[in-house]
Amino acid sequence: MIAYILRRLLLWIPSVILVMLGVYALAFYGAGDPIKLIFLRAPGDVAYDPVKIEAIREQAGLNQPFLVQFGNYLWNLVQGNFGNSLFSGRSVWAMISAAAPVSFMLGLMAMVVTALVAIPLGMVAGMHQNSRLDYSILGTAVTLWAIPPYVAGPLLMVLLLAVLPSGSVPYGWGGVFSVKIILPLIVLSFQPIALIIRQTRAAVIDVMTEDYVRTARAKGVPERVVALRHILRPVLTPVVTQLGLIMITIVNGAIFVELVFGLPGLGRLTVQALINSDYPVILAVTLIGSFLVMASNLLVDLLYPLLDPRATDPKAART
C-alpha cells in the first residue's frame, strides 16, 4: 500500500515539473513582463524609468536565461522557498499559508454539503425513475447546473441585503462556524450537487436492474432497507470515482465564489496573480492545484477496493 502511494507520488513529480516548466515557458516567452506591467498600470505622472525597471528585474533574477531561472526556481522550491511575489514583495509561502486554509475549509464543507444533499436526492430520484418526483429533482439539478456561481453569488447576496438592510453583510471570511460561510457554501455547492444527483440517479437505475435487488424487492424487503443495504454501496462506487471531477468543479467554482464574497482564499490569490502576471504566485498555485487533483485521484484509487470488493487492481478504479 505504502509502496503504491510512493510510486504514485514519484509518477506525479515529473508531470508537475513538466507542467510548471510549461507555465514558466509561457510566462518567459510570451506573457506580459510583470515588472513593466507594474509601471504600465501606474498613472501617467509616474515616470516610466527603464533603469529602474532593469534594476528591479535584476533584483528578482528575471534577467537570466530561461533554464537558469527555472533551475533556480526548482532549487529554491526543493529547499522549501517559494520566493517572493513580484507585485507585493511578500513571501509567497506566507500568502499561500494564509489563503489555503480558507479554500480548504470551504472546499471540504462544500464536499460534505454536496454528499449529504445530493446522494439521498439522487437515490430517491433513481428509485422512482420517470416519476414526477424524479423529474422535479432532476429538473432542479439541471437548473442549478446552468446558473454559474458568479451570477448566483451576487444575486443571492444582494437579495439578502435587501431583506436584511441593517444586518451583517455576508461578505468576507469569518471562519467555518461563522454565518458568513452559508451563502458562499450554497453557491459553491450548486454545481457539484447537480453533478452528483445525476451520477447517483444513473447509478441507482443501473443497480435496480440487478438480480439481487430484484430478488430482495420481490421478497418484500422494505424499500428503505433495500436502499441502504443493497443499493447505497454499489451506487457509492461510481460516485466516489467522480470525486476528482467534483474536486475540479469545486476548485474552479471556488475562484468565483471567493471573488464574489471577498473570501481571502487561493482562488482570489490566483486571479490577482494572473492579472498582475505575478509568476512566483502562479507557479505556487499551479503546484498546489496539481497536488490536490493528484491526491484526490489517489484517494479515489485507494477507496475503490474498499467500496467494491470485486476490484482488486486499484488502477482499474478510474476507468
Partner: protein, 317 residues
C-alpha cells in the same frame, strides 16, 4: 451536430438499435424540448445577422439603459445598443465556442482513448500518465496563461499577414479568440472523453463478437472502427451533449474574468459580466443573457439525459 449524424446507423449493426433509441428519445418530452432549443440555437447562430432588428454595434446615446419595450424587447445597454440584437449575435459566438471546444476535445479524446484501450500495455500506461498530467493542471490557470502569453504574438502575426495580403480573414479577431483561447480550453478538456472511450473499449474488446472478428483475421483497424467505436458511441454522445453546455458556461466564466471575446463583439459571457456591474439598476442587462445561457445549458442537459436513457434503455450494461 444535427440529429442526422446521431442516427446514422453503423455498418453491421441492426438499424433497430438506433431507430429504437430515436423512438424512445421522442417519447421523452424534456429531451424533445432540449432538441428544439438546440435547433433554434443553430438556426439563430446561422442566420443571426439577418434576424436582428438592429445592428448589434450601432450606439444611441439618447437611448441608454432602456428597459425592455416593444421596440427593444430586451432593452438597451449602456451605449444604447439593442440587447436583443446582441443576444442573437452572441448565439453565434456561443455556438462556435461550444462546437469548437467540444469537437477538438472529442477528437483528441476518442483517438487517444481508443488506442489506449484497444492496444493496452505500455501505450496505455503512457497515455494514462499524460491524461493524469493534463487533468492535474488547474484548467482556468492554463487557459489564462496561454491567453496572456500567446494571444498578442499571434494577433500581431495575423495583422502582419493582413497587411501583406489584404485578406480580411486575417483581420477576424474572433478567429484568434476562438482558435487560441477556446482551442487551448479544448486541449485540457479532452481527458474525460479519453477515459470514457478507453473504458468503453476495454469492456467491448473482449466481447465474443470482437474475439470472433479477430479470429476471422480482420485487422485491428477494421475491428476498431467497425465494431468497437460504434458501441462506444452511445455514452460518448451523452458526454458530448453535456460538454457542449458546459463549454458555453466556461466561455462566460472566462469573460467574467476578463478574457475571451474582445468588445465590441458580443458574447453572452461578456454581456453577463457587463450586466453584473449594473444589474441592481438595470436588471435586464444581466437577466437577458443569463437567462438565455441558462436555457441553452439546461436544454443541452435535458437532451443529454434523454439520450442517455434512450441509448441505454435498461441502464448502462
Amino acid at each position: 451536430m444535427t440529429d442526422q449524424t446521431i442516427i446514422t446507423p453503423p455498418e453491421d449493426r441492426p438499424n433497430s438499435l438506433w431507430s429504437d433509441a430515436w423512438r424512445r428519445l421522442r417519447r421523452n418530452r424534456l429531451a424533445v424540448a432540449g432538441l428544439a432549443v438546440l435547433a433554434v440555437l443553430i438556426f439563430v447562430a446561422a442566420f443571426g445577422p439577418w434576424l436582428t432588428p438592429y445592428d448589434f454595434l450601432t450606439q444611441n446615446l439618447d437611448a441608454r439603459n432602456l428597459a425592455p419595450s416593444l421596440s427593444h424587447p430586451f432593452g438597451t445597454d449602456d451605449l444604447g445598443r439593442d440587447v436583443l440584437s446582441r443576444v442573437i449575435y452572441g448565439a453565434r459566438t456561443a455556438f462556435l465556442v461550444a462546437v469548437l471546444v467540444t469537437a477538438v476535445a472529442v477528437l483528441i479524446g476518442v483517438i487517444l482513448g481508443a488506442i489506449a484501450g484497444f492496444y493496452g500495455g505500455r501505450f496505455d500506461k503512457v497515455l494514462m500518465w499524460v491524461t493524469d498530467m493534463t487533468m492535474s493542471v488547474p484548467q482556468l490557470l492554463l487557459v489564462v496563461v496561454i491567453n496572456a502569453s500567446l494571444k498578442q504574438p499571434i494577433t500581431l502575426w495575423m495583422e502582419a499577414r493582413y497587411m501583406e495580403t489584404m485578406n480580411p480573414l486575417y483581420r477576424n479577431s474572433a478567429i484568434i479568440d476562438f482558435v487560441l483561447v477556446f482551442g487551448s480550453m479544448a486541449l485540457i478538456t479532452w481527458p474525460p472523453y479519453a477515459r470514457l472511450v478507453r473504458a468503453q473499449v476495454l469492456s467491448i474488446r473482449n466481447r465474443p463478437y470482437v474475439t470472433a472478428a479477430r479470429a476471422l483475421g480482420l485487422t485491428n483497424r477494421i475491428i476498431l472502427t467497425r465494431y468497437v467505436l460504434p458501441n462506444a458511441a452511445g455514452p460518448l454522445i451523452v458526454a458530448i451533449s453535456a460538454g457542449l453546455g458546459s463549454a458555453m458556461v466556461l466561455e462566460s466564466a472566462f469573460s467574467f474574468l476578463g478574457i475571451g471575446v474582445n468588445p465590441p463583439t458580443p458574447s453572452w459571457g461578456n454581456m453577463i459580466s457587463d450586466g453584473l456591474r449594473v444589474w441592481t439598476n438595470y436588471p435586464h442587462l444581466l437577466l437577458a443573457p443569463a437567462a438565455v445561457l441558462a436555457i441553452v445549458t439546461v436544454a443541452f442537459n435535458f437532451l443529454g439525459d434523454g439520450l442517455n436513457d434512450a441509448l441505454n434503455p435498461k441502464g448502462q450494461k
